[in-house]
């Protein structure tokens, strides 16, 4: 029983990280119908930015997090304005080719600047040990992750449900033409949402360094998992992303623990089963 709780907790922690990074991708795909395969690259740059801030400027880990969110979000907004906007009406293939090319370029730039190896990160010692609650050992960092994402998800959920911006967002996801028709500035909405989504993924990338590691292949390595979360959860849905991320996170960790020979395959098996049962995603809207 104790091991089950431990494994579940690890899975939830991993899932929280996936959720944080994948949420932006889900909203982009649901809201703008834009296949953004460069999403992993934004997360990766968030990680590298965090490492650079800590190492070069000596900023503490906690302080880098809001900085990374703002800088990567701003970068996302700029790239959306300058590059992505031209491709909203393009075919899905063009979008895929463009964003994958962007990912390769980012990976190569990261290799050039930081080198091909894993980036070591010096977390504050307060976050780097285990505590024992009710007889089970919990990693403090993973506890921090889960807590952080729970609070964030609650705030985002409230934001989407209770604010005007949230209402406009929901309207634009449901029916962009009608939303534009009632005077919502859909392109401004796109930019702000894209910036928020990439900011969140950058933040996720920084938080992920200790759990997933960080090297220039990060963007492509984990892209599959982000896409899994979006597809299984249903594009454009916050609840969907959260549910899918948690489910897939637990499936992955539990699979590796209980069936190590098949370990890495379990997450794909879970995806197949979930998609067969929910073809449009857990909370996806029928197209």
């Amino acid at each position: 029983m104790r091991t089950l709780i431990g494994v579940l907790f690890d899975g939830v922690a991993y899932g929280s990280l996936l959720f944080l990074i994948s949420l932006g991708l889900s909203v982009t795909m649901g809201l703008m119908s834009f296949v953004n395969l460069a999403h992993g690259a934004f997360a990766m740059m968030g990680g590298f930015l965090c490492v650079t801030l800590m190492r070069r400027l000596g900023i503490s880990f906690g302080l880098t997090l809001p900085l990374v969110f703002v800088v990567i979000g701003a970068a996302g907004a700029l790239i959306e304005l300058g590059l992505y906007r031209r491709l909203y009406r393009a075919s899905a293939l063009d979008q895929v080719l463009f964003t994958i090319g962007l990912t390769f370029m980012t990976g190569a730039a990261a290799t050039w600047i930081w080198g091909p190896s894993q980036q070591p990160i010096a977390l504050p010692p307060s976050l780097h040990h285990q505590i024992t609650l009710l007889g089970v050992d919990f990693g403090v960092y993973r506890l921090f992750l889960v807590g952080f994402v729970v609070v964030l998800a609650a705030l985002l959920g409230l934001g989407v449900a209770r604010t005007r911006f949230g209402a406009q967002l929901r309207a634009a996801v449901d029916n962009p033409q009608a939303a534009a028709g009632v005077g919502i500035n859909v392109s401004l909405l796109f930019s702000i949402t894209f910036a928020l989504g990439t900011g969140l993924s950058g933040l996720g990338g920084a938080l992920a360094i200790d759990v997933l590691g960080l090297d220039p292949t990060f963007a492509l390595k984990y892209l599959v998992y982000f896409l899994l979360v979006v597809v299984v959860g249903g594009p454009g849905s916050l609840k969907g992303s959260l549910a899918a991320a948690l489910l897939l996170g637990v499936a992955d960790v539990a699979g590796k623990y209980y069936v190590p020979q098949l370990g890495s395959f379990v997450i794909y098996a879970a995806m197949i089963i979930l998609l067969v049962v929910f073809p449009h995603g857990l909370y996806g809207r029928r197209a």
Partner: protein, 391 residues
Amino acid sequence: MSFTRSGLLVASLLCLATTRAHADDTIKVGLILESSGPFASQARQIANGAKAYVKAHGDTVAGKKIELVFKDVGGPAPDVAKRLAQELVTRDKVQFLGGFVLTPNALAVAPVATQAKVPTIIMNAATSIITAKSPYIVRVSFTLSQVAAPLAEWAAKNNIKHVYTLVSDYGPGNDAETTFKTVFTAHGGEIVGSVKVPLKNPDFSPFIQRIKDAKPEAVFVFVPAGDASVGFMKAFAERGLDKAGIKLIGTGDLTDDDVLTAMGDPALGVISTHHYSAAHESPENAAFKKVYAEVAGAGVRPNFMAVGGWDGMHLIYDVVQKLGGNVDGDKAMAFIKSGVTIQSPRGTISIDPATRDVVQDVYVRKVQKVGGQLYNIEFDKVAHVKDPGKS
């Protein structure tokens, strides 16, 4: 044809003629290395080791100039490795192939070596079966079986009765696990569990949790040297396995000199077995480290991969010298099989004429702090170990 056109034709034919004449004075060595991607740092060690040897001994042997041609295979990519080997042999006309951090790439090149009759020097890839795949392959590095067997003996003799094994799921990992299990159980030990982790981006946490719950006395680990060993060390310390009283033992890949400093204090006290430690005390090693620093930069520590590159070039130079500069694949292999001994920075090594694999001393080491830095300090050794994996 106009005058200028025919003039151009004659000029280009002349150029071809002169290049061919120039080529006869150069012996090209094609090095296939995983220079981009997660094994880049290891590939760089091999490259620098090879370059250091050329720097220390000059680039001329028996009147011929030695030229190194580097090709990047990017990671575990056997189809790319094979294509690069074919290009090196047909286009660049290399007379030796070498390099190979990873086993899958070395295995893919074997048929090319056989068909082209090009001596292929394995400077790292450590699975036993590689040398059997082509009569033109010779290895100067090590095999996992060769270093895992002494570790299993040491563990059995030092009061460790229950061991859990964790290895990466590919050739060398399978060799390490099989040899360790065989030797350890033969000496009366018990394997309480085994797990194989995927080679590409493994997340060690769930596997380590499993080990913690099994409560062995020690865990035997093989993961490829570099990022994987750092990742493992970090997860090991984070889950508190050392505090739970579980000893960590492994092949020297775990405490690789290239990343040992990055691992930090959690690595202290780890017992490993390997064929080379940067802290090895010998005049050859001191000389090697000095030249290496000139090539790689001061403060870059050479590891066993660098020694593989260095000794690989040593063997190539010996072959060229012996054949008077006229390298023929079959004659080269005949010389290699006549019993070659090399004074390596790691100690004395020799090539087994029957298997074309390396025979060397294997050291038992402990990670200790020397002068504020972590090193693998040798405290015991097993002499003249042949690869037990060849049976």
